[in-house]
């Protein structure tokens, strides 16, 4: 197959760029997610650093051609290291008028705009709410407009296949992909191989897509619609083996790794919910790793089953999004009381209530910290990027098991679906997760505590002579029998709090990047990592005294955090909520905090944070 891409030689007018942002946009039925993923896969293999942002509608399939039906996939690929999918695309591929209308505002001034001109008939325009035809009314004069009759060209490329016209039309996304491969001098192999595998059982479809891909490439070659082409060389990534992962895949892999390294079978209790379902889909495929996935009747049963499995000695996790976490609240409280390890993953989405299920947000932090009755402290972590999800899943598992506690792990729709290159760790380099079930009946007390961590013993059913009962009523210190004794209650409430507080001894201290002190410190958590990092780098390049600190551990906070914050003059906390971490930091450290909020269901642009930094740094 490799021989088929020999056309990918050197071409006249190849300009080298550091980074490029392409957005593919079309109708939900146009296969844009696929196109984006393919472009990303190739960029990864070429060795670019990259970041992606899939943005798709909440409806399964909104009416074809309408604005709510528009699906987009943005990929930023670069020879330098990058942190975000990019603010404004250099190239917009718009497969129909609705896609144009929704996305044009983001395209860089003077950017390349590739449109499928076959989709701009009057009825198409009407569906998108256009009065006139933007391709003709001069409204696109500020862009490098490239009109391509993609339907016609795809059909003619596929003429020999004998496929019905509707089926042919479905391949036009590969035509578009081929064009982009030409424009950026990318190899076709990765996608050709993928087509082969994916459509193994439908050889005509495979053939159609293959032909369309090559036709798109060839069309550019022949027509010279692009005057120049570009090259984005490989990035100087740290040496190692890489793959491309999105956040949910990385979480799944992290849990499997933790299961292997701890020797505990992995049990996932889950109920499908966007954007968390993919973790279930991923893990359900790992049966030969002994992974048990249990799709429960609801979120409550899902966490209940996980807690039961934890009692029985599994590495137990439950995965959900905000509404599901709300439902699990009561059970998380029980997990706090019975002190069993459990990882609860919340892939945050736009809220409140059903909100914007396919959009991203960070507004569940306070729920994660406080959303339980009574004093019910948990460990709370947040992942900052797709690849970081692997480490966070692993770390959440380690902490849960070592400290015998529920751990809440926050991610969000942006990093769950967004992809980036991940340097694959060697299995032997993963930190150990030692587990010792209690087996000795001598002196066994279910609520005796490890002097260092205050964790209680894990004594699993099936172990002779350790029969004991746990439950949600207050426990007597040590013996763990039901106790209504006032002073015992106070002691236990404080012990549970102290147990979580001591996790701070088991995590790295906060260590800002930039200056050790003075000026502005930008503090972030979760998926704002990319935008903050990029913005701070830019601001520093502009000579601003600005540093940054990204928090993985939100409860307990690193023990030196108060000290660190006190080293800086001003603190800015950008969050995709109304200032939740800012509130927590104020309450904890009595520090004035500048909160930057964005609650649009969309990640921060680098420029938004940069602008704010410029205002206050």
């Amino acid at each position: 197959m490799a021989s088929e891409t020999t056309s990918n030689g050197t071409k006249p007018g190849v300009e080298t760029l550091d980074r490029v942002v392409i957005r593919f946009a079309g109708d939900s039925g146009d296969g844009m997610q696929l196109t984006g993923t393919q472009f990303t896969a190739t960029a990864a293999i070429v060795g670019n650093d990259l970041a992606t942002f899939p943005d798709y509608p909440a409806e399964i399939r909104a009416p074809a051609g309408t604005l709510p039906g528009v699906s987009g996939y943005q990929v930023n690929f670069a020879s330098e290291d990058i942190f975000t999918p990019g603010d404004a695309p250099d190239v917009l591929v718009a497969m129909n008028p609705a896609a144009l209308k929704v996305n044009l505002k983001d395209l860089k001034a003077g950017g390349i705009l590739v449109v499928n001109s076959d989709a701009f008939r009057e009825s198409d325009l009407a569906k998108a709410g256009y009065q006139g035809n933007p391709l003709e009314d001069g409204s696109l004069d500020g862009y490098r407009l490239v009109r391509v009759e993609m339907n016609r060209l795809t059909r003619s490329a596929l003429e020999g296949t004998g496929l019905p016209q509707r089926t042919m039309d479905r391949s036009k996304n590969f035509f578009a992909l081929g064009m982009m491969y030409y424009l950026y001098n990318r190899p076709l192999e990765v996608s050709l191989r993928w087509i082969e595998e994916k459509f193994a059982s439908e050889p005509e479809i495979a053939a159609a897509n293959r032909l369309a891909l090559k036709a798109g490439y060839a069309y550019c070659e022949a027509s010279e619609i692009f005057h120049d082409t570009y090259e984005v060389p490989a990035a100087r990534l740290a040496p190692g083996t890489y793959r491309n992962v999105n956040g949910n895949q990385a979480l799944a892999l992290g849990f499997v790794a933790a299961s292997r390294k701890s020797g505990l079978p992995l049990f996932q209790g889950s109920y499908p919910i966007t954007p968390a379902s993919d973790i279930l889909h991923e893990l359900a495929a790992y049966k030969n790793f002994g992974v048990i996935t249990f799709q429960a009747e609801d979120e409550i049963a899902a966490i209940g089953a996980a807690l039961g499995a934890s009692f029985a000695g599994s590495l137990a996790i439950t995965t959900t999004s905000g509404p599901g976490l709300a439902l699990k609240s009561e059970f998380v409280g029980l997990a706090v009381m019975v002190e069993l390890p459990l990882v609860v993953v919340d892939i945050q989405r736009g809220g409140p209530s059903t909100g914007l299920p396919t959009k991203t947000e960070q507004a569940d932090l306070l729920q994660a910290l406080h959303g339980r009755h009574g004093e019910a402290p948990c460990v709370v972590l947040a992942a900052r990027s797709p690849a970081d999800c692997f480490e966070c899943a692993y770390e959440a598992s380690r902490l849960a098991v070592r400290h015998m506690t529920p751990v809440l792990l926050l991610s969000d729709g942006f990093i769950a679906n967004g992809a980036e290159p991940w340097r694959i760790p060697a299995v032997e380099d993963l930190p150990p997760i030692p587990v010792a079930f209690r087996t000795d009946p001598e002196g066994f007390l279910p609520y005796a505590r490890d002097p260092e961590t205050l964790a209680r013993p894990w004594a699993i059913p099936g172990t002779p002579r350790l029969e004991h009962r746990i439950g949600g009523l207050e426990k007597s210190d040590g013996a763990g029998n039901v106790s209504y004794e006032p002073l015992n209650h106070e002691r236990m409430v404080r012990l549970r709090a102290e147990k979580i507080a001591r996790v701070a001894l088991d995590i790295p201290p906060a260590s800002p990047s930039g200056d050790h002190e003075g000026g502005l410190l930008v503090v972030g958590w979760g998926s704002t990592y990319g935008s903050i990092t990029a913005a701070v780098r830019r601001a520093r390049a502009e000579g601003k005294r600005v540093s940054r600190l990204h928090l993985r551990y939100l409860n307990p906070l690193p023990s030196n955090l108060g000290e660190v914050l006190s080293q800086y003059d001003r603190i800015l906390v950008p969050e995709m909520n109304l200032g939740q971490l800012a509130f927590v930091l104020r309450g904890r450290y009595l520090r004035e905090i500048v909160s930057q909020s964005k609650v649009e269901g969309q990640p921060f642009r680098e420029s938004e944070i940069l602008d704010r930094i410029r205002e206050i740094a």
């Binding site: 209940g304 089953a305 039961g308 439950g471």
Partner: protein, 337 residues
């Protein structure tokens, strides 16, 4: 399920003081379980008793086994996780009519449909005991309770019918103080491979005293219950002089034996009969009928936990045990030097 061990009732008595009201029917159920468990040939450490919240749900504290006193209504969820994680365990649920059928109704029906090998003992006292006397979903209409001072207007569930509707593979009913019967039913539930739902009529002598008198009192119960026994005709009465006959398909009637009616004319109990039969029995209610006790349905079907582990086994056999290093490196990978 493991080698037989020489266990006795004493082995199943925990060190916790039993804290039910004197005279509560729960004592009898506890005693029955403590008598049956040692006879099941299961080592003590393999028993797990899970419960929700309610007087009945205090049960695990008194059983010297592994136990999990969960939150209200959620015992089936926890039990499901335990059983799937370790199918070698003998997993039991002790629950009340409120815990199992009000807040926990969904978990119960899903546990039954999935046919997990879990035994649900539902203590039906037709009232909320622990919270001091509110309506339960099995309370009869018109009942005056704390929450219905003028009498309830809610139609109750028929627990046996609901379990059958959820396609439970084992459904039975017994009575707290009918010790031999109760022990037999608990044993049958234990022997069944699959989900078992056992409704136990239980007296709450504080908040609903006498709810089941006619089925509990030694001198009255023979007239008011009919024992279901596999392959035997449905006969009842102190002098076993009455029985159940079909007046038409799906239409049972009570007949008196003698004067032309013999046991041959009676319905013969079949635990494996088509579901319409068990459902018909479930709807035999006093005062028209004696209340059936015993096993309504027993069907052998694959259990969920076995199917899960078989599937894992089959796939592992086919693909080979997972290699973490390979898994991490799967998909399109590339090297950066």
């Amino acid at each position: 399920m493991g080698a037989p061990t020489a266990l006795t009732k004493k082995d199943f008595v925990s060190d916790q003081e039993v804290r039910w009201c004197p005279g509560c029917g729960d004592y009898a159920i506890l005693s029955a379980a403590q008598q049956v468990f040692p006879e099941l040939g299961v080592p003590r450490e393999r028993f797990v008793v899970v419960s929700g919240i309610g007087c009945s749900s205090r049960f695990p504290y008194y059983m010297n086994t592994y136990g999990f006193h969960a939150i209200h209504g959620r015992a089936p969820a926890i039990a499901t996780g335990i059983k799937i994680a370790n199918p070698d365990l003998s997993v039991w649920i002790a629950t009340g009519d409120g815990d199992a059928l009000s807040i926990g109704g969904n978990h119960v029906i899903h546990t039954l449909r999935r046919n997990l090998d879990i035994k649900i003992l539902m203590f039906n006292n037709r009232i909320y005991g622990l919270t001091k006397g509110q309506l339960s979903p099995t309370s009869e209409m018109g009942k005056k309770t704390k929450s219905t001072p003028y009498g309830s207007v809610d139609r109750p569930f028929n627990p046996v019918a609901l379990a059958l509707g959820a396609d439970a593979t084992f459904v039975a009913r017994s009575v707290d103080v009918n010790a031999p019967h109760l022990k037999e039913v608990i044993r049958a539930a234990a022997d069944h491979r699959g989900a078992a739902f056992v409704e136990i009529l239980q007296n709450c002598n504080i908040f609903n005293d006498g709810a089941w008198s006619e089925f509990r009192e030694k001198d009255r119960r023979d007239e008011h219950v009919v024992e279901l026994r596999q392959g035997e005709p449905l006969v009842f009465g102190k002098s076993r002089d009455r029985g159940i006959r079909l007046a038409g398909c799906h239409r049972p009637e009570v007949v008196t034996l003698g004067s032309g009616v013999t046991e041959k004319d009676l319905l013969v109990h079949d635990e494996q009969a088509p579901l319409g039969y068990a459902f018909m029995l479930a709807h035999m209610q006093p005062p028209e009928f004696p209340l059936p006790i015993g096993v309504f349905r027993r069907a052998v079907l694959p259990t969920l936990e076995a199917a899960i582990h078989e599937q894992i086994g089959a796939i592992t056999a086919k693909k080979g045990p997972g290699d973490l290093g390979k898994l991490l490196r799967s998909g399109d990978v590339w090297e950066v030097k």
